[in-house]
């Protein structure tokens, strides 16, 4: 009797062990199911590189290049801001901050990770957006730049915590060896620790960027949502994620617009898949 019960339990455990694979497969399957239909109306090339996104005009124009460029632009901006600051903060926490300060800083970073993105978007709207508007004398502060700054901020917890882990896991004797040769603390960090942790830091950066590309609410609230090819970083843009979030509510189930938004979902899924697998390879290379 007990043996039968345990047999059943162990089978259930195995089944649930496979749940993650099942759900990843299911997500991809349903994105494909709803999204591939769009390619009956527009070729994959025209979809990805079409310059106009007018999903509700007649006939609809379903080119997502403006959205891809919008996502790329804010992501690039966010990366330029967040990588040096994030890695710098990780080095400070891992190497320089004394015990108590270190714990407080880590708690602060965790706090940032916990704040919902819609709240950050709201705060960005009332603080950052007017600031950008006044600073650059723009007609609106809802720009790619505002989005980049906000997203950089949101990528920080990922970058800092993973990069700090990477620095922390370097064997002590690397550091001691450098000190023994008379290197200053900074020389040790710059010449020994950072190179030794490079693959972990790279993974941190990639995952941070993954977070940025996938971020939806904050970016939708502060980038102005203009689906045109961006000419500068000081104009409103629209990202892939924001397009889906903003338009799916109005798209009719089974319409071309609906299929196109799912096709954007496929693009986002594939991007995040590539980023996560590559980052994981970097993290495993370290060990």
């Amino acid at each position: 009797m007990r043996k039968i019960k345990e047999f059943i339990i162990e089978k259930m455990i195995l089944l649930c062990g496979l749940a993650a694979i099942f759900f990843v497969g299911l997500i991809f399957l349903f994105l494909l199911k709803e999204g591939l239909a769009v390619f009956k109306m527009v070729g994959p090339f025209d979809f990805l590189f079409g310059k106009s996104w007018y999903p509700i005009s007649e006939p609809p124009k379903l080119g997502i290049l403006p959205l891809i460029m919008g996502s790329l632009l804010v992501t690039l901006g966010a990366a330029i801001i967040s990588i040096p600051i994030g890695v710098g903060c990780a080095v400070y926490i891992a190497e320089i901050a004394p015990g108590k300060t270190k714990e407080i800083l880590k708690a602060g970073i965790e706090l940032l990770a916990a704040i919902p993105s819609v709240v950050l978007g709201f705060i960005g709207m009332v603080t950052l957006v007017p600031l950008v508007k006044n600073l650059f004398h723009l007609p609106t502060g809802l720009t790619a730049l505002s989005g980049s700054i906000m997203l950089a901020f949101m990528a920080m917890p990922t970058i800092v915590s993973i990069a700090e882990d990477a620095l922390y896991s370097i064997p002590r004797n690397y550091k001691e060896g450098a000190f023994a040769l008379g290197a200053t603390h900074w020389q040790t960090i710059w010449r020994v620790l950072l190179p030794a942790a490079s693959s972990g830091i790279l993974a941190a950066v990639m995952l941070g960027i993954g977070r940025v590309i996938g971020e939806t609410m904050a970016v939708m609230m502060i980038t102005g949502n203009a689906a045109v090819l961006p000419q500068s970083i000081l104009v409103p843009i629209r990202t892939l994620t924001a397009t889906v979030a903003a338009e799916m509510g109005e798209a009719v189930v089974g319409s071309e617009h609906y299929f196109a938004l799912f096709a954007i979902g496929i693009v986002l899924f594939i991007i995040s898949f590539i980023i996560n697998v590559t980052a994981d390879l970097f993290l495993h290379k370290k060990q």
Partner: protein, 283 residues
């Protein structure tokens, strides 16, 4: 000119400190601003009344209740599956290609953009299973989204139970499942709880996954069943800050404050449990 290494170090460390402050100071500011500007809105009526006058007055009670339903539903779905999956990874799986794929799948699941979860929930639960935009669809979508958080933290908690406990239990004639049930799980509960609460916090704060699966724009009443639409705090904040003009700032900040407090409270609980666990560790 020869560079002075000590001067270089001073400059470098100053810049590193600056980078740190650039992150931490805004975090502090955000929390302070929300508390300062949201506190005046805080009163019993705000928390317990339905929204009135097109959300320009009244309270946020339906949104609080909606979020509670969603979070509760998500955890009912995700905890059993996540825990069993963690048990599989920690106690049963061997270092082989299958466990490698499972781990990769978990990483991917946690990396999928939240809006893609929204699309998935729409396609599977709302359209395919015909649950419609409902609490059920939203809770299941959120449940799948927090699954990786629960698996990862539960697995860490299970793996931190020393192997020697398992060996002792087995050597006394306990079966593998008895060992897990009576020795491993009880000692991993604080860690599992921590992960569960973090998952709850994440589910409470997410907007994109519930946009098309459950969220009601303006529904000044409480949901009657799990097949009803519902308001939810994060979506409500989005709506009143971008979609509805002329909403009193107090109400916006007040809603943000409630949401932040809710999420921070859960994180604080998790931190407290975690530190208690470290203190009481018997091995």
């Amino acid at each position: 000119m020869k560079r002075n290494p000590h001067l270089t170090q001073k400059i470098a460390f100053f810049l590193l400190l600056l980078a740190t402050l650039l992150i931490v100071v805004p975090v502090g500011l955000i929390v302070v601003i929300i508390i300062q500007k949201g506190l005046p809105a805080m009163n019993w009526q705000f928390l317990t009344d339905i929204p009135r006058q097109g959300m320009r007055a009244g309270g946020i009670f339906p949104a609080i209740v909606g979020t509670a339903y969603l979070v509760g539903g998500a955890i009912i779905f995700a905890l059993p599956i996540g825990l069993l999956a963690a048990i599989y990874l920690s106690e049963y799986s061997k270092e082989n290609i299958l466990s490698r794929i499972i781990k990769l799948a978990i990483i991917n699941l946690s990396g999928v953009p939240s809006v893609v979860y929204g699309l998935f929930g729409l396609a599977l639960f709302v359209v395919f299973f015909k649950f419609g935009a409902s609490i059920l669809s939203g809770a299941l979508t959120l449940g799948i989204m927090i699954l990786p958080i629960i698996i990862t933290s539960s697995r860490e908690a299970l793996e931190s139970v020393p192997d020697s406990f398992r060996e002792v239990s087995l050597s006394l004639g306990a079966s593998k499942w008895q060992t897990i049930r009576h020795i491993v799980l009880p000692n991993a509960i604080p860690g599992i709880l921590t992960g569960t609460i973090l998952g709850l916090g994440r589910a409470a704060g997410e907007t994109a996954p519930i946009l098309f699966t459950v969220a009601a724009f303006y529904l000044p009443q409480l949901p009657g069943s799990i097949f009803d639409q519902a308001m939810a705090l994060p979506y409500h904040l989005y709506v009143i800050s971008t979609q509805v003009p002329n909403v009193d700032e107090k109400i916006r900040y007040g809603t943000a404050l409630v949401l932040v407090l809710l999420v921070l409270f859960m994180n604080l609980m998790a931190i407290i449990i975690r530190s208690k666990l470290r203190k009481n560790k018997k091995w």
